[in-house]
Symmetry: C2
């Protein structure tokens, strides 16, 4: 990265809440250059004591549900309540990243013009260490910079939601009221992750339909067993045009935070999340080295088809590949420890 | 393993449909002895051309739903139709493994006394390479031995269902009609995996209640988006006491098989499953070696708490651990290939 600052310059800038320095630090995290990685890692360790004080919130919904306008309207409410708001995107296809960042800023004009807000598009897919891990570290930097609410935007159709679930405190699902097929396009399991379902664009002629959809969704949520945190997701009608429901979303957030903190789930959940990311990073690092190994690449290319067509048993090829990475001895030794 | 046979003896026995030899071969697969593993792997490769011709069926449901009696009744129907039936369990806590195998055979008397059936409890959790992979290989041996239907029993409350989903053609979920809380105890996401929901014990006084539950479940299924295979799961009332629904279950299986074979999904799905198991085995082998590494174990013990409490960034520890396994050079090299 050009114009790299010193560790202390980054640290001072972030802790002072300087959005430009914050942005540069996140770029450092996303860089694939070895030197940037080292610096980012050291910086993160430096600011770690200043992290953890925000409310981390996932905002998920399929394209067209109005994530940008929801975040704009809800975000402005948060600013009015004296909160500092950061918005991060995790999917390349999320609204934040469609087109230019200029486009995003136009769509979130109220937020982007305010000094108490920070908007950041998603890292590119080629980021070293996985997009999830990068976004999680960006959250930590935003916290160190003093942001009170971190909104992480995902599109709700991929695997990002499972990852994002492991980095936020609260999962908000945006839906539209449709004609019977309300859940079309929502990836299986997403509904179950929701701490709150918001039926968006509940205005004008769509308001009556949204009211009916509310009952349907409440019924659907009833089918999911109670979770370990003992929280029943609510269904809320909202509109970015009329402002309907925005206060209720905020109040629900506060209620959730209070309940989870007093039950101990809040900190328990975050501790579990940190261990999840340890596992993820280990897997990611191992996979990276594995897949880049020239001999493994070549063998996979030649023999993967044999496995796929049922001519070679998967475990035979798996063992051979792992031996290429670690040496025959490593596997034998590990088996010896059983 | 004592009294180990030669490769050719195993092969000949399995292809002749000898249940005793089949059982010994599966024991070989589950063994943690290096020599058994080698032999099992070679044997599997030998019989591979004779596999793939069965209908692989998951039978899932919480304890108490009557999996044993369902399998007994449905299995006898299959025998009557001239089919050979194998039953494998995947969970240590499934009915097949609770108590002794004698107990299981008593509960599945009709099946266990018939030469055209084969019943096998689940491998112990200490099996090398993961229980899922072992069960999958047991399926292949059963197919080579000429079984037409392989029923894989799981308890529906753990992670086994995700694994079993990747080894079967058809996923059958047994439920009971209860008072409103029908899905309690069913792990999130299981309902969505079902190709067929069977409301079991629909007899006597419970019949009316089961009929009402049917409508409720059908309504719940309606909330899941259509899947790539374009199949709508049916809800069927069944009783192992009266035999209600058993024919319908069978007919649905046939209908499914026909539809999926003609659409190409059947073979597509199996090819995807083979690649899934290649990935699983690679991960399993890597994890095994990783976790057995004495230096890694020691470091994890000392520093995992620092990660959990938020004092150390997960990626820092992850990188250090992976370097212990692969050497610093390996990671640097891999990054160089980006």
């Amino acid at each position: 990265m050009k114009n790299r600052k010193t560790l202390q310059e980054y640290k001072a800038g972030i802790l002072a809440g300087d959005r430009a320095v914050l942005g540069q630090a996140i770029t450092l995290v996303e860089s694939s250059l070895e030197e940037d990685q080292r610096l980012a890692s050291a910086l993160l360790q430096e600011v770690l004591p200043h992290t953890g004080n925000s409310l981390r919130l996932a905002v998920t919904g399929v394209p067209g549900v109005g994530k940008s306008s929801f975040i704009e309207t809800f975000g402005k409410l948060l600013l009015k309540k004296g909160k500092k708001v950061a918005v991060l995107a995790i999917d390349p296809s999320s609204s934040l990243s469609q087109g230019s960042i200029l486009g995003d800023k136009t769509r979130m004009e109220g937020l982007s013009l305010d000094k108490r807000a920070y908007i950041r598009p998603s890292p590119s897919r080629s980021a070293l260490g996985g997009v999830g891990a990068k976004t999680r570290e960006a959250i930590l930097f935003c916290e160190a910079a003093g942001f009170d609410l971190i909104l992480v935007e995902t599109v709700g159709v991929g695997q990002s939601e499972t990852l994002v679930k492991h980095m936020v405190d609260f999962f908000l699902l945006l839906l539209l009221s449709g004609a019977g097929d309300e859940l079309q396009g929502i990836k299986k399991g997403i509904m179950e992750m929701a701490d709150q379902v918001v039926i968006h664009k509940a205005d004008g002629e769509a308001l009556e339909q949204a009211k009916r959809a509310k009952a349907t969704f409440e019924n659907a949520l009833h089918f999911f067993p109670p979770n370990e945190k003992n929280w029943n997701p609510k269904v809320i009608l909202a509109s970015s045009l009329t402002g309907l429901g925005m206060d209720q979303v905020w109040e629900t957030l506060l209620e959730y935070q209070e309940k989870m903190k007093s039950s101990g789930f809040w900190e328990h959940n975050r501790a579990q999340q940190r261990l999840f990311w340890l596992d993820e990073q280990i897997k990611e690092n191992l996979t990276q080295v594995f897949l880049k190994h020239p001999g493994i690449q070549e063998t996979l290319k030649k023999e993967r088809d044999l496995v796929q067509s049922g001519k070679l048993n998967p475990s035979v090829l798996a063992e051979r590949l792992v031996q290429m990475l670690l040496g025959k001895d490593a596997i034998e030794r590990a088996k010896g420890y059983q």
